[in-house]
Symmetry: C2
Subunit: 206 residues, 2 copies
DNA sequence: GTTTTTAATGAACACTGTTTATTACATTTG
DNA sequence: CAAATGTAATAAACAGTGTTCATTAAAAAC
C-alpha cells in the first residue's frame, strides 16, 4: 500500500509550501517581518499548522539558510573560469563581496544570525553548509600552493580562516552600518581599497 | 529661580536611573530580555514613563552602546605601556580579542546590532564612538610608521580599516558560532593561530 | 487661591512565537 | 458497510513584546 508513501510525499509538499512562503516573505519584507502568522496567511492555513511541519521558527530559518548557501555556491562556480590560481582566489573574494552586497539579508542569515545555528546546536550537528563553502575556499587556496604561491604556508585551514575573517569583517562593518564613522560617503571605494590592500598583503607571502 | 535647573537635574537623574536599570538587565539577562516592562519594574515606574525620558528602545541601546565604548577604550589604555610601536599594535589586537570574548553581548551591541545605529541615522550624525576608537587604532599605526614600520603604507585609514576588518571578522565568526564547522573544539587555538598568522602577514610589509 | 503646566500612569493597540484542547476527516479494523 | 482508530487542522489562549494616548495627580505660575 502506497498510502504511507503518498502521506510522506504530501508532508514534503507541505513543508515546501511553507518554506516557499517563508522565503518570499523573507526576501520581500525582510526577516523581521517574516512572521509565523504572515506565512500562515500566505498559504491560507492556521499558524498552528506550521508547527506540525517545523519544530519552530529557528528550523525555518535554518532551511532558508541552507537555500542561501546553495545560491552563493552557485554564484561561486563562475570563478572556475579563471585559470591563474591566485587570480581565481581574488575572483572568489570579489564574488563573495558581490553576493553579500546584493543579498544583505541572506548574508545576515548565513553568517550573523544566531537562529539557524541554534537548530544545529540542539541537534549536535556540525555546520555542513559552512564546511562546504569553507572547503571550496580551501581548495582554491590549495591550488595556489600547488602552483607555487604561498610557499611559507604550512596550514591551509589557518590561511583560509584568516582570509575569510578579513572578508567577513570588511563586509559586516559595511552591512551593519559601521562605516558611518567616515564623514565622506565613500563606503564602496573604501571596501574596494581595503580589498586591494589585503590582496597585496597576501601576495607578499609568495 | 533655580526651579528649571533643578528640573533639568532631576530629568538627568531619571534618565540615569533608567539607563542603570537597563544596563543591569542587559548585563545579567542579556539584551533580548532587556524589555521596557522589565526596566520599568526594576525602577518601580510604569512602562510609559520611560518614553518621557527616551524616545524609544533604540535610544536606550544607543546610550548603552556609548558606555560600552568607554569601557573598551579604558581597557585599551594599558597598551600604552608597550614601548615598541609594532608590539603595541599587537597588544591592541590582543586587548580587542580579550574584550570581545569577555563581553560578547557588549561587542554585539557595539559592532553588530542595528538598533543603536538607527538612532544615529535618524539624527543624521556621524558615529562618534566608532570614530574615536578607530582614531586610536590610526594613532597606533601612525606610531608604527613613524618608527619605520609599514614603509609602503601611504594610506593609514585604509590600513586601519583592513586590520580592523580582519579582527572584527575573526571575532564575529567565533561569537556568532560559525566555527561550529570545525569538528574539533579548538576554537580558541584557531583564533590564536589566525591572529598570529595575520600579525606575520602585516610584518611582511615592513 | 485659582489657573496652568507638567509628570506619571492604566489601559489599550497591534504585534510576536508557541501550546493545547477540540473538531473534522481519512484510514484501518471487525 | 459500520464502528473504531489515527491524524491533520484549527480556534483560542498564553505569555510576552514595543509603543501610544487619554486621564489623573501634583507641582509651578499667576
Amino acid at each position: 500500500m502506497g498510502i504511507t508513501e503518498r502521506k510522506e510525499r504530501e508532508r514534503e509538499e507541505m513543508r515546501d509550501l511553507i518554506l516557499q512562503a517563508a522565503r518570499k516573505l523573507f526576501l520581500t519584507q525582510g526577516y523581521e517581518k517574516m512572521s509565523i502568522r504572515g506565512i500562515a496567511e500566505a498559504i491560507e492555513y492556521s499558524p498552528a499548522t506550521i508547527y506540525l511541519y517545523y519544530k519552530d521558527k529557528n528550523e525555518l530559518f535554518f532551511s532558508l539558510h541552507k537555500d542561501a548557501f546553495q545560491k552563493m555556491m552557485a554564484e561561486f562556480s563562475v570563478v572556475a573560469a579563471v585559470t591563474d590560481p591566485f587570480e581565481r582566489l581574488v575572483a572568489l573574494g570579489r564574488q563573495y563581496i558581490k553576493f553579500a552586497i546584493e543579498n544583505p539579508e541572506l548574508y545576515d542569515l548565513m553568517f550573523i544570525m544566531e537562529a539557524p545555528m541554534e537548530t544545529l546546536a540542539c541537534r549536535e550537528e556540525v555546520w555542513e553548509d559552512g564546511q562546504t563553502s569553507f572547503g571550496f575556499l580551501k581548495i582554491v587556496i590549495g591550488d595556489c600552493i600547488n602552483a607555487g604561491y604561498f610557499k611559507n604556508t604550512e596550514d591551509i585551514e589557518n590561511s583560509s580562516l584568516t582570509i575569510w575573517s578579513f572578508m567577513h569583517g570588511l563586509i559586516t562593518i559595511y552591512l551593519k552600518k559601521r562605516m558611518s564613522m567616515f564623514e565622506d560617503n565613500r563606503e564602496m571605494e573604501r571596501i574596494e581599497e581595503s580589498f586591494k590592500l589585503f590582496v597585496e598583503m597576501i601576495k607578499c607571502r609568495f
